[in-house]
């Protein structure tokens, strides 16, 4: 069976659902956040098609940084962490070496996203290759650094295991079915990097791939709110720290070839207090064989109640 040049209906449908869910706002602590169970006949490539849609959604930056906050911003030809300083009584500034960004307090939003207070200080920076800069400029236009900064500040996160395998799927999708992807999403997904699975590199890349246990060793990461979280299996959703990215909309993939798929169906039966807005949200029509079901889960405050860990 040959691959069609343009995205087939199933691929469009999955991308559209990724877009629609990523358009939903973040949910405050204590409230019920929107989730979607996506039932598919194979889990292969679904994560990346969802990401393709989600990367087209408007970016969602966290609250405006204040003086003294550390933010991840584009400065000095790279994405890096910089402290927001007061330049004079009504001006903020971000500066390093001879590079500077500044604006009026209360008028111009301080750019970037605040990094959580326990984020490692020495996590480095991201500097795209010359070739990747040219490609981004071609797709995003002359303001590509700002677009890239914003894409990274509102990342799409995939939670799964076998991270290398997920990356290989992304490579194949980008290489073999480039026309199935939105041009802007494609450039965001087409990163020549092995750093997207390193939690310390979050906010340097438009998408990240983490294991369900990422918060155990990187507790601070729970404070970041991605644009969309895609969980590749129900068992990972259950195993995740309940406060991990819990304010972000999430899609959990229920692969019908995987046994734990049935747990997802039973357990989402009990999570149907959708609320008016999410309940009325119209999702894209799926072709036969793809089904989606809304559910909700409560946004939890990060708590260190997991007192002691032990592996197997």
């Amino acid at each position: 069976m040959e691959l069609p040049k343009n995205a087939p209906e199933w691929a469009r449908s999955i991308s559209n659902v990724g877009l629609r869910m990523a358009e939903l706002g973040s949910t405050p602590v204590g409230q019920l956040a929107p989730r979607l169970l996506l039932s598919v006949p194979t889990g292969q490539y679904a994560s990346w098609l969802l990401a393709n849609g989600a990367l087209q959604a408007p970016i969602k930056l966290s609250s405006e940084p204040k003086i003294g906050d550390i933010v991840t911003v584009w400065l000095d030809k790279r994405l890096q962490d910089i402290e927001v300083r007061l330049r004079n009584e009504d001006t903020w500034e971000l500066s390093i070496h001879s590079s500077r960004r500044e604006g009026k307090l209360g008028v111009d939003r301080v750019p970037g996203v605040v990094v959580p207070c326990d984020t490692p200080k020495d996590r480095g920076h991201f500097q795209p290759t010359p070739e990747y800069r040219v490609r981004m400029e071609h797709v995003f236009g002359p303001t590509w650094p700002i677009t890239y900064e914003q894409q990274c500040g509102s990342p799409v996160v995939v939670i799964g295991d076998g991270k290398e395998f997920l990356r290989l799927q992304r490579d194949e999708l980008v290489d073999v079915a480039h026309d199935w992807l939105d041009a802007k999403s494609a450039i965001s997904l087409d990163q020549d990097t092995h750093q997207v699975s390193n939690p310390e590199r979050i906010l340097f890349h438009p998408f990240m791939v983490f294991s369900p246990e990422v918060a155990k060793s990187h507790v601070w990461i729970r404070q970041i709110t991605p644009r969309l979280v895609i969980v590749t299996r129900w068992s990972y959703f259950r195993r995740m720290d309940p406060s991990l990215f819990s304010g972000a909309p999430m899609i959990v993939i229920a692969n019908r070839r995987v046994e734990s798929n049935w747990n997802a169906i039973d357990e989402t039966d009990e999570k149907q207090e959708l609320g008016e807005e999410f309940g009325l949200l119209k999702l894209p029509q799926h072709p036969n064989g793809i089904f989606s079901r809304k559910f909700v889960s409560r946004v939890n405050l990060p708590l260190d109640d997991d007192d002691e860990e032990s592996y197997i």
Binding site: Q169, V258, D269, G289, R293, E308, Y311, I312
Partner: protein, 512 residues
């Protein structure tokens, strides 16, 4: 599955357009045999019977399973072996045995009509149209794959690629244009699951699905095909089955043998050994294991994934279901591997002499904490300083478990250490965090090692599905036992912390 976009595209396309056809097949000799077998089994259920009769009855059930779920003729399955016994029995049972034996003899002389229907379909002479199908799979239980392949290859039915395959192989391999299956699809599911869960286990064949077209031959003892059993959630089935033929009028009662599992009487606890509340998980063939929320280890299950089996660790024991396959580590290495892996990792990072000092800090802390078991004054002292009593008691109990290190809260560690008489501060806490990191690394390495072992040789799947107990050698992780759960855990007991997670054996469990 080829890990490529072509195969994924095919799978979505198959789900969109799947066609399911069921065809009723009449086989009077089989119907008579099955009726007599059910009748005898009901008489024998929950009774004590002699070994010869049990072997004869079980052989007949195996024959029924083979004929119901494959296109094999009875003679091909039986070969030169003898199924019918010669021992005479008295009374009602004796009459039932004789009737069954007579029907076996008649059955063995007959041919499986599902084979005829299959051959007709393959050669284009059937109402089941598979004209455009180039690749054909015949779904059979794993133990019959080789035999079915032999008999089908000898027939040279067509130029089509025809291959017998087990459901697990079918799930992992590339697509086919049509899949033929025989009897109830649930025959391919785990023996211990309840009927609802069995339907769910094999639902992927229809709704994932295994091919563009699925043809199911059904005998009189199969329930009519019910789409709702395979729905993903209510009203979400994507296919409407087409039924050919008429269900044979012969009525055959269903029969499920009674399986009773006795409660476990826990052995006496060792004085000085902490006791925790645990659930009893009953396993195949009289085995059982305790798991507790208070202390590790948690159950580890092996589940079927899309591309390979998956190791689901940290499972909540109360969610275990009959048919789940537990992975239990046994042997001395299973107790020491986490520490030895962690020490290796630390030595690479910090050097040998430093690691020795680091380990001493943890060991001193845990050993001192163990000595406080049963010491109410110690717990009360910490409670007076603001700690919760339950938390303190749990810390003491966990000190008895090899795989734990210490609390993950710095302030609590320093406070407990102080109460134990140690002058520990931030430096010792940083040692604890390093060792915790080492354990985390060791745990990941161990899970990876386990995954590689269970994937490298998947023959254990056939063993546990038959059902049975599979054993695997697992390098530095020790020996592995893969064993099915037979009952949803509902018994709680208080047992020694040292017995949590250990495979145990009850001498008598099943009643026949």
């Amino acid at each position: 599955m080829g890990r490529d976009l072509h195969e994924a595209h095919r799978r979505f396309s198959m789900a969109e357009a799947v066609e399911v056809v069921t065809l009723w097949v009449d086989w009077p000799e089989y119907e008579s045999f099955t009726r007599n077998l059910v009748s005898l089994s009901k008489l024998l259920d929950s009774s004590t019977i002699d070994t010869k009769l049990r072997v004869e009855r079980d052989g007949c059930w195996a024959l029924r399973r083979a004929l119901q779920s494959t296109p094999l003729h009875p003679s091909e399955y039986i070969g030169d072996s003898t199924l019918v016994g010669v021992t005479l029995y008295a009374g009602e049972i004796g009459n039932a045995v004789e009737k069954l034996r007579e029907s076996v003899v008649v059955l063995l002389a007959s041919k499986n009509p599902m084979r005829y229907e299959l051959e007709q379909a393959l050669s284009g002479g059937s109402t089941v149209n598979i004209e455009s199908a180039q690749t054909v799979k015949i779904l059979t239980p794993k133990k019959f794959v080789s035999l079915v392949n032999d008999v089908m290859l000898n027939k040279h039915i067509s130029d089509r690629s025809i291959k017998a395959t087990s459901p697990i192989e079918a799930k992992l391999s590339d697509h086919s244009d049509v899949v033929f299956a025989f009897g109830a699809l649930e025959n391919h599911a785990n023996f211990f699951k309840n009927p609802h869960e069995r339907s769910r286990e094999i639902a992927w064949i229809l709704n994932a699905p295994a091919s563009f077209k699925i043809v199911l031959f059904q005998l009189a003892d199969c329930p009519p095909f019910d789409v709702s059993k395979y729905e993903i959630w209510k009203n979400t089935n994507q296919f409407v089955p087409k039924t050919l033929g008429v269900q044979p009028s012969s009525f055959i009662e269903g029969f499920e043998p009674t399986i009773r599992v006795d409660p476990i009487n826990p052995t006496a606890v060792v004085p000085g050994d902490p006791v925790v509340e645990a659930v009893v998980v009953h396993l195949f063939n009289g085995h059982y294991v305790y798991f507790s929320d208070a202390v590790p280890p948690k159950p580890t299950c092996i589940r079927n994934g899309e591309l390979e089996v998956e190791i689901d660790d940290g499972v909540n024991p109360s969610t275990l279901q009959p048919g789940d396959v537990l992975l239990i580590r046994t042997g001395p290495a299973s107790h020491s591997f986490l520490r030895s892996h962690a020490v290796d990792w630390l030595e690479r990072e910090c050097g040998k002499s430093e690691v020795k000092q680091m380990i001493e800090i943890v060991d001193n802390y845990k050993n001192a904490l163990k000595l406080k078991y049963g010491n109410a004054g110690f717990a009360q002292m910490l409670v007076a300083d603001g700690m919760e009593e339950h938390y303190v008691r749990n810390q003491i109990v966990r000190a008895f478990v090899d795989s734990t290190i210490a609390t993950q809260r710095a302030a609590n560690f320093i406070q407990i250490a102080k109460a134990l008489g140690f002058d520990y501060g931030e430096d010792e806490w940083s040692v604890i965090t390093k060792i915790q990191t080492a354990h985390r690394q060791a745990g990941r390495a161990a899970v990876q090692e386990l995954r590689e072992i269970v994937i490298a040789d998947e023959s254990w799947q056939d063993v546990v599905n038959e059902p049975g107990i599979a054993k695997l050698r697992a390098g530095s992780v020790g020996e592995l036992v893969l064993i099915p759960v037979v009952q949803k855990p509902d018994q709680k007991v208080r047992v020694s912390v040292g017995s949590i997670g250990l495979l145990q054996r009850n001498l008598k469990l099943f009643h026949e």
